[in-house]
Symmetry: C2
Subunit: 401 residues, 2 copies
């Protein structure tokens, strides 16, 4: 075995972000991910993009980001013939992943009980916005909505203005990591006991768990977070914790650090009057403005060099393009690429976790819709005639570039 999850076979009904990122993480570790898409159009994320532009003129950056290391088969899930085929595949599969709205897939005959009946060892993982029952079960479970419901948005931005979401998807990705956590825990359990099980993951619960320290503070200390009217970076933190401007229009983040060291490095001894914890919290907006007036006297790189030399916890604030060129990011090889039949050389973020014996690698680009349908069915023992008949009926589509 060269990969940690070699031999683990996943039937992946998932679409958009949460499920696909989860199965990509499992694929990076060597699992055999069979992505089951809608015949014809495939995963809805194929039609989503930023800037109204497409990679190579046709491919979605969102889809390309979350679907490497998978093979695709495109099927009509409403066909009874297709149902029989998938249940045949399920006999030797280890994991099923899906993130349709609650109940949708089960109605088509692809619920946990359906799979368990043909393979009691199966691990079935469902993802949703808010879980599979309860008052919000019919509501849309989108990433920014979850950020708002979980309290992250109310904690972010300036106090004298409306709160803002984190400017990137996060709840979906955290949901994906929770799927991985549940599936791999269940796989370990199955190795020991032979038993499969059902796993339910939802975005709201997942984000709450990430905010546990904020919840424990608010629910046990009798205080609420109040956003500061400045660049202080967390409503629970005292100055200087925040984002500061520099002379050349850049920004530097300064985290928890001895305040005395900071004002000495800034050559601003007049700030000494603020140097106790209570004052740094109560007057944090005022302190922020004073510190910011000092940081603006330095060029970004000069300021960083001085602060780092004094072991102040700080870093540059970079945009994504500059982050991709960051020396540490480059050193780690975190920006890599794969060749895609239509997208060309696609630059992507590399696997993040380093394993000494079983390194994660990118073996395949994101697939075309149904690109591997024929080879997958052949592997499962279906004949050429059966496969051709399935295509002829429209129950399977193949885009082979």
């Amino acid at each position: 075995m060269n990969k940690a999850l070699e031999g683990v076979r996943i039937l992946d009904f998932s679409h958009l972000l949460q499920g696909p990122f989860a199965t990509q993480l499992l694929g990076d570790m060597g699992a055999d991910v069979i992505k089951i898409e809608r015949a014809g159009a495939g995963d809805m994320f194929r039609g989503m993009t930023f800037f109204a532009k497409w990679v190579g003129g046709s491919e979605s950056p969102n889809f390309l980001a979350w679907n490497r290391n998978k093979r695709s088969i495109a099927l009509n899930l409403k066909s009874r013939k297709v149902h029989a085929i998938i249940m045949e595949m399920a006999r030797t599969a280890d994991v099923v992943v899906q993130n349709f709205r609650p109940g949708v897939l089960a109605k088509l005959g692809y619920g946990y009980e359906d799979f368990k009946a043909v393979n009691p060892r199966i691990i079935y993982c469902s993802g949703s916005g808010y879980g599979e029952e309860g008052p919000y079960v019919e509501r849309p479970g989108q990433d920014m909505l979850i950020q708002g419901l979980a309290g992250l948005i109310a904690n972010t931005g300036r106090g004298d203005q409306a709160p803002v979401p984190a400017g990137a998807g996060l709840a979906d990705q955290i949901g994906a990591m929770n799927m991985v956590y549940g599936i791999l825990s269940a796989l370990y359990y199955r190795e020991k006991t032979g038993k499969g099980q059902k796993i339910e993951v939802n975005l709201l619960a997942g984000l709450l768990a990430h905010l546990n320290q904020e919840y424990v503070a608010v629910l046990n200390l009798g205080e609420d977070f109040v956003r500061p009217n400045s660049g202080i970076g967390h409503p629970g933190m005292q100055a200087p914790f925040g984002i500061y401007e520099t002379k050349d229009g850049g920004y530097v983040s300064i985290a928890m650090s001895p305040f005395k060291t900071l004002y000495e490095v800034l050559a601003a001894p007049q700030l000494a009057v603020y140097d106790d914890l209570k004052t740094l919290f109560d007057k944090r907006d005022e302190v922020f403005e004073k510190v910011n007036a000092e940081t603006k006297k330095f060029a970004t790189q000069d300021l960083l060099a001085r602060l780092l030399k004094a072991d102040i916890w700080c870093a540059e604030v970079k945009d994504i393009r500059r982050a991709a060129e960051d020396p540490q990011v480059t050193h780690m090889g975190m920006i890599t690429s794969y060749d895609h039949p239509r997208g060309g050389k696609v630059r992507v973020v590399a696997p993040a976790v380093k394993m000494s014996e079983t390194p994660a690698t990118i073996e395949r680009p994101a697939p075309l819709v149904g690109q591997h349908g024929r080879e997958i069915l052949a592997e499962f023992g279906f004949s050429r005639d059966e496969i051709a008949a399935l295509e002829a009926s429209g129950d399977m589509t193949v885009d082979a570039a």
Copy 2:
């Protein structure tokens, strides 16, 4: 087995957030987590809090949030006697977790090679800010700094003002999930092959991987994200995607939705002139202001009811206290509590992932410093005299409440 990870024994040298959240997730699934703290003071996070208040007058909400389901032993890691004891424990341990700055623990004789020598099946997982080598290896790896380096901060906030961090830790928690992903993948591999390995996780790489779709877009489409000067919630998105005010001072998030449906529900047909994708992107700040003027005419609950009825993707923006009382959060039982000897009844966020056969549960509150030292050493076969001698020398401390 009632728990997925029953029988998995973890020697946990980690502190602060990344490592402790990772081992808490493993403990929630039944792993036996032995938290090895500094004799006397213990985990640095015990001295960290929000609002300069302490739970029960003495306990850190941050520490309480990330250390349930663990037992603590407090040892002097510089003592050779302690080294021999830990290596004895390592013979039957499965996993070692640590997140000291790179090299620190290895210098004390607790590197991967040291553990491998006594137990080749060991899985050793290190967490750091930036990996274990490269230009940033000596730099502090704090959560907000990572948000800035990875590009998340530059994407967040208003374009006409300084960017802002997400107002909660995220990079650390994502690092924790990556530890879980690596460790559980390695455990599966070990079940199949008998081989242990070393895993390296770092916060910067982990956050980059979560931002993959933003990286793929910027690096392949020749565009950069530009923060809008309004409440639009992602720099890559068109209106209406954003956070809107209501009549009673509340906020509602509105995600990707048919614009026509939105202006019809708002009874604002004059907005029809903006209804094509390019206009909604190019004039998104203007559209935002116009939509915001309409949403301010409705009370929060009335607006939500109308929008949800029309299947507009929306949700209320809640602060943490109100989120804890949210009907769906309550329905899911996501706010629970445990009894702590000094903190009293501590309210915490429950495990997020639901497992049908092996439910995650909270079996223990966060421990006191070294609370279980004696029982742990007795389990590993050390005699009462040996344990007493270790305490007498100060190499082990016990706070037994």
